[in-house]
Amino acid sequence: MLILDGLKLEQDGFSISADFGVDAGNKVAIIGPSGAGKSTLLNGIAGFLEPAAGRVLWKGADLGGTTPGDRPMSMIFQDNNLFPHLSVYQNVAIGVQPSLRLSGAETDLVRQALDRVELGGMAERKPAQLSGGQQSRVALARVLARARPLLLLDEPFAALGPALRVGMLDLVAELVEMTGATLLMVTHDPGDAQRIADQTVFVDAGVANGPVNTTQLLSDPPAGMRDYLGV
């Protein structure tokens, strides 16, 4: 499991602390007002930000000091998930081998991942030749091909329209179920949380509160959460 052990992160004079664990295979949403530090928390777990205190552990091993690429996780950002100068195939393959020199088996892996997101026929295209939804699916294909046990999403698919975004979230849920990966997703939309997350972490006033059942949290919100939801 993923354990945030007395974790404290500081960025630009503001700090957020978290002290909880997430069981392997769980789907967890991280919600809270903008500026509360949701993305900071995710960046700390991903290794873009060194903790001011505490540790991030995966399966008992301290991830401190390991680079983002060496951590057992894939990440999808708000935007800029694809390199515009690389083809669809290369954009997926670079997640498997940064040198882009793939073995036969690795090439097959990339092809299968592209087929899985129904982009097998567009491998040679550049991202600019794809629709927004197709671009997001390329990023998901890379997540699949990398097959890391943790998936971090930072307000993903924000550029897509509502229907497309919901469809993409369902695809994420499907892929995560299929691979048994653990999902952490930052969102500002309680609807997203309800849609795919069993558990939800509520971030408020510099503290990330441990995950609780999403449906329960939304039906009986604590005080800070009520202000956020406006109920």
Partner: protein, 511 residues
């Protein structure tokens, strides 16, 4: 996520090349007080011509930039590109073109002769200033134009809605903008003119019109007085260091960016008088720039049939110097940019950046003299004339390359840095799959600039020259000095075409 030691190494080498050579020079220099009245004359002349060149260039550039900023006309993109091209023009070629107009037998003197006036005298202070204005007025125009175009369009819309006339706009909007742009522009031109050598070599000379750079050359070449050359080198560096220190404090506007051919929407300038005024300035700038180049072309074409046999060898040497210098500049600038952008210790990255811009203040002749002093005990410096020329031009191109590459790299890291980190794109993979593809434009521009500057460089090569292994600019200068003007015109045309071609090829290669 990528190694910083290449940048640190390059920065140390560049530091050694600029500061180290100065140290070598200073070490050989006699104690202060060795400056004779001639040397003081050279210092005075250097400052005088640099101030005059800067002031006149800027004064002419303001109305031209204003006209370009508020008018659209066919051919404007070409003119704006042409303004940028003057920077990569070989100095000695432009001098030849200016002589064809302002020289003793030039167009202007001939025209004056028709009305019974004596020919104009181009050699001396006004010739030097004229050539410097020819080179730097376009640069100043682009910098000032950038200032105009970076003013938010809303401000002019607001001015129009408040009923401002063109005078009000000038006083309340344009003047404050100029106040921030002009000092930096003038300082850049001052520094360029204070270190100018080829112009002074061709059009100056004599006790009244010798710059410090030229005096270094003469002390070195004619008297082989290393001590004197060294002392003057220290003086030259001091002048530039003071100017550079000032320059770091004022805002230096960009001149190399694209998009300079748009026009600002204005509601206060549609009177026939203002339109006529603007078109007059644009016409003046076009003629001032194109006429000398047209003369090079006109005189050069017949000269092509009568070229000296050594031209092919000189061209080959110039091209190799240009290619080596382009390659090294890109390598050096990219590794320094990576270190400047990525190093967490801000103080170290600032030092590297400072070293990169240091060569603006360094004088090629000081570097050359210093290298001569360093090389002399071990090898024959004349045999190393070409590598030294390439190296000096790398140092001279670095500030411009860094100005193009560092902001682009910062943008790439901002957009794709986290993604690349999360995919373990480190070292070679990051360079190959992220930096090179995304930095093609600034890298191509830097390579082109370095290639063109080295191709046309008449500086260190004149110091070390081996008559049997001349480069094109040196050969051109030798032909001019021997008054073999027809051959000179042919060589000038070849040099001009080659310089523009290498720049164009590299810049295009960058996409």
């Amino acid at each position: 996520m990528i190694r910083y030691w290449p940048g640190l190494l390059v920065a140390s080498l560049v530091g050694a090349l600029t500061l180290g050579t100065l140290g070598a020079v200073a070490w050989r220099a006699p104690i202060w007080g060795g400056l004779g009245s001639e040397d003081w004359g050279a210092i005075r002349f250097t400052l005088l011509q640099a101030v005059m060149s800067a002031v006149i260039s800027v004064a002419l550039a303001v109305p031209v930039a204003r006209a370009l900023a508020r008018r659209s006309f066919p051919g404007k993109p070409v003119l704006v590109t042409l303004l940028g091209a003057s920077f990569i023009l070989p100095v000695i070629v432009a001098v030849l073109g200016l002589l064809a107009i302002f020289g003793r037998n030039g167009l202007l003197s001939t025209a004056l002769g028709w009305v019974g006036l004596p020919p104009v005298q181009i050699y001396g202070l006004h010739g030097v200033v004229l050539a410097h204005v020819f080179f730097n007025m376009p640069l100043a125009t682009r910098m000032i134009l950038q200032g105009w175009l970076s003013m938010p369009a809303e401000r002019f819309r607001l001015a129009a809605s408040l009923g401002f006339g063109s005078r009000d706009t000038a006083r309340l909007l344009e003047w404050p903008m100029l106040c921030t742009v002009l000092p930096g522009t003038a300082m850049v031109i001052f520094v360029i003119c204070a270190t100018s050598f080829a112009v002074a070599l061709a059009l100056g000379g004599g006790p009244k019109a010798t710059t410090v750079e030229l005096a270094i050359y003469q002390a070195f070449r004619f008297d082989f007085d290393l001590g004197k050359a060294a002392l003057l080198g220290v003086v030259q560096f001091a002048i530039c260091a003071v100017a550079a220190a000032v320059m770091f404090r004022v805002h230096v506007p960009e001149s190399t960016g694209g998009g300079l051919d748009r026009a600002v929407a204005r509601w206060d300038v549609h009177t026939p008088v203002l339109r006529g005024l603007d078109m007059t300035w644009i016409g003046f700038a076009t003629i001032f720039l194109l006429l000398p180049l047209g003369m090079v072309l006109l005189a050069g074409l017949p000269g092509l049939v009568n070229l000296p046999g050594s031209v092919a060898g000189a061209a080959a040497r110039s091209i190799s110097v240009a290619l080596v210098s382009a390659g090294l500049t890109v390598l050096a600038a990219l590794s320094m940019a990576v270190a400047i952008q990525g190093l967490r210790v801000r103080r170290v990255s600032k030092v590297i950046e400072g070293i990169g811009y240091l060569s603006i203040a360094a004088s090629p002749l000081v570097i050359g003299t210093g290298m001569f002093i360093v090389i002399f005990p071990f090898a024959n410096p004349v045999a190393l004339a070409l590598p030294v020329t390439a190296l000096v031009n790398v140092a001279m191109s670095l500030p411009f390359a860094l100005r193009a590459i560092v902001p682009a790299l910062t943008e790439v890291e901002g957009r794709f840095g986290h993604l690349a980190d999360s995919l373990s794109l480190t070292g070679w993979a990051r360079l190959r799959w992220l930096y090179l593809p995304r930095l093609r434009r600034p890298l191509g521009f830097s390579a082109g600039l370095a290639a063109a500057l080295s191709m046309g460089d008449l500086g260190v090569i004149a110091l070390f020259s081996d008559p049997k292994a001349a480069t094109l600019p040196l050969q051109l200068y030798q032909l001019m000095a021997a008054y073999r003007m027809q051959e000179a015109a042919g060589v000038a045309l070849i040099l001009l075409v080659l310089s523009l071609a290498v720049f164009w090829l590299f810049d295009r290669g960058g996409g």
